[in-house]
Symmetry: C3
Subunit: 364 residues, 3 copies
């Protein structure tokens, strides 16, 4: 399955892109090189000199431009060539493909498809909560050797917490409470309320400011999916019976922000953050959250890579879906529809865009 | 070439399969997971949860059943699903393919083909001598990165002992004595008698109870092949001229039991044992035999993997066969005939079996 | 693209081929085994016993012949079988393909194509200068994971010295002076004269016998390409304004001898030597040259392997050539013409040669 190319994908954390060193990353099978130009803006070009195919990422930056390390051609952030050593004229075709880049909501985003369609207003506001007062956040990037949809499936069916994350997020309360799945246009929302149960270890440690709450709790998971793979998880607990659990001062409210960027058909960059609305100044708690969530995502990574190995071996067929898969199935339908729409548009004779949006290496 | 699927293959040693941990092994391109159910019987399922393709071998055992570690589905040893967490009904299709398993003659056997045809009486009695009073045995498993037929070829032409195993099994007596090859139905028997020669180092050390025999000896190698790749080697020496060398009290009588199980087209599990009928209680001798035979098989492994590399590079063509290859050629003909028979049967419209016996991944 | 098969390729340095050990090397996709026969002459056979495909390089030498380590077949340097253990007659087909070998100009050469056409007079005299009195030389072999033509391109456009070898061979003088490219039959000659400039570090250290020359210099690079990939670089410097710079006693005259042998489509053996005509007896200088040139070639290797990676990923298309690529383009045209000529000849019905010259594994 090819990728949705006309979309924003998280490419990096802002501090990964700099004015004094190049940063290479493959996104949707496109090899890209990132840096900051002389205005400080992040830019991205195809990681390949048009002259003799040298990766530009092996080069160096000069005055906001990138110099190829092989024969010294120099390119600006818009892909134009600004110098060919040993030659005064610059032929029109000497130009490197550029990718639109924007920086917003705590991540650097890139648009692998048609630049004419890139509109920063389309960047999902998934991390606004993180930038709002009253919230604090930790996060990281995890490389996963699996297709991005397996990660999206994973986040849309948290039933797996009971088994894969037993000892942290999971206990039987999760599997025993049903989910509600709702599709609204390109959004999927999966909701699970778990009332009146013994809290799982991860949450127990955080109710009532980590004093070691011994009672029962109410817990919620509200998962919102937007394509290609932005998943915001509104999660939290409160002492059982609180009339307003999502705002309980004795409870714990968190937000798990995830955006998954395909590297190739078989590998993904998983950007994630965990924001919370309690004990904002507790840096020890922040460090502990970073450590715990990293460990949980590591459990997911190992499981999902094992599934990818089976798919590589056996193919994707012969699956049986259960009730709990409703969210993942709905999300995959949206993605398939958007990919078909892109393909239809690319094939239309009178389309106004000039670039084929689908990856030229999608079949690899 | 696909594999014979309707056949018993050695899968493991009995102590490798347990009631408290799972054991994964690929056989004839089928990924399998083994354990012991609550009756202590070894069972095998396809190593793949039918829900979301998680390898079951990543799961754990509960009351003789296996629990998938991802979403917690639980399966019995017959492949039926006994629990779907979060769902009361179990849809009819939620079932994992099972493989018939039997334990006999010192090995655990599995039948990768049509379960309806699996008959434990078809398990080759290759290790009966091992279980008989008057014999003792050492053995192990060697993983070889080569097609199983290369291993079978190797055992059917022991001429190679003179060169590959010079210093242990080999000396010029082997190559100087001709072999007789006889095919009887699905059996091939290769016989070589070597009279009146200086014993090779391995045997010299064992004649007359390891007293360092200095005279000449008579030696025999009687190799019996049965498909897919069970090879029993009746081997031994006696002081030259003994009227009943195979029963000489001054000689040494051994039996090299081999069964080779394809893992993939390019890799094999080589199960072997060396049984002897002398110095039964000498545990030091047993340890020395295990060590020596392991070393000899290691020489075979290195050579055969080198041959496989050449085949992968050049293809199998352009071979010239010599007189000594008669046994290997006869064995390959039997295998080809049985594979053709299976394919013909699978293609027949009125066959009564319900499963296609050939591996779905045979073409890999 | 297949290789030119009817051509001499450097295979080894003379001291790599011996009478008491085998030497394996793949050239133009042909796996070869080399040794010295009882006359001391280097010989080469296909590295594959015709009996059961064992690599002959796993065997050992006996009286100038090679013994297969598996079943002991023994072959002479002309490919004929001289012994089959256990069998008196030697069937006519038991023979291993031989490759013509010659030793000249300081290297051992092999002809992977039709033996009937191998003529030692066709060996390029690229190292004659090295063997002449008045010259001394250092050299080595570098394995490069890239197609040999990328290495040839690299040597035909030394503009890259300014960027890739900044700090040793390169400074702006190189890129600022134009090249002249001349094609004469199967030869390409690229000439660059750089007058009146500050010498690059590598050369500065060598003018006027390494006394640390502070003035300006004149420098030349005269590159001669002959197919498949023999490249002689006549290089040197002299104090600026010397009327006969190429023979100036105050200057430094060198010769960089290169011959590139394809291993596969994606890997190459790069044989190189650096000869000089000054300070002949200075062994410290020789050691320093070996070290410096090794370092420079290592920079080339890293760059060229990066380019090969991009080609493997994206294909070779979408390149734009500049004025400085004239030499490389001319060389590639010669090679393409010679390959087409070989293919046409192989397809001709009345050709007198008996062997198909192109590699049977060229398509891999």
């Amino acid at each position: 399955m090819p990728f949705i190319m006309n979309a924003w994908y998280a490419a990096a954390w802002p501090n990964e892109i700099a004015a004094d060193r190049v940063f290479a990353r493959t996104i949707c099978n496109e090899s890209m090189v990132f840096w900051r130009d002389s205005t400080g803006a992040a830019v991205a070009l195809e990681d390949r000199c048009t002259h003799r195919q040298m990766p530009l990422a092996k080069g160096w930056l000069e005055d906001g431009t990138i110099r190829c390390s092989y024969h010294g051609l120099r390119f600006a952030g818009d892909g134009s060539c600004v110098e060919i050593p040993g030659q005064n004229n610059i032929p029109a075709g000497v130009r490197v493909r550029r990718y639109p880049v924007a920086e917003r909501h705590g991540w650097v985003w890139v648009w692998p498809g048609d630049p004419a369609r890139a509109d920063a207003a389309l960047i999902p506001d998934i991390q606004t909560r993180n930038e709002s007062p009253g919230w604090t956040s930790v996060g990281s990037t995890t490389h996963v050797a699996a297709n991005y949809l397996l990660l999206s499936d994973n986040l849309l069916d948290l039933t797996h917490e009971t088994f894969l994350h037993v000892g942290s997020l999971g206990n039987h309360a999760v599997v025993e409470h049903p989910m509600e799945t709702r599709t609204e246009g390109d959004r999927v929302v999966v909701t699970r309320w778990m009332r009146n149960h013994i809290p799982a270890p991860f949450w127990k440690a955080n109710i009532r400011n980590a004093t070691g709450y011994e009672g029962l709790c109410d817990r919620w998971q509200i998962i919102e999916f937007r394509p290609p793979a932005h998943l915001v998880l509104d999660v939290g607990v409160a002492p059982a019976g609180d009339p307003d659990p999502m705002n309980s001062a004795s409870g714990a409210q968190g937000c798990n922000l995830n955006t998954i960027t395909p590297e190739t058909e078989h590998t993904s960059w998983f950007f994630w953050a965990f924001s919370r609305r309690f004990q904002l100044d507790d840096t020890e708690l922040s460090a502990r959250f970073l450590d715990r969530v990293t460990g949980i995502i590591e459990e997911d990574r190992v499981a999902i890579e094992a599934v990818q190995n089976v798919i590589d071996r056996d193919g994707p067929e012969r699956l049986i879906s259960l009730r709990t898969d409703a969210g993942g199935i709905a999300a995959r339908r949206i993605i398939e529809r958007l990919i078909r729409a892109e393909a239809a548009e690319a094939a239309a004779p009178d389309r106004t865009t000039t670039r084929r949006p689908t990856s030229r290496r999608a079949a690899r």
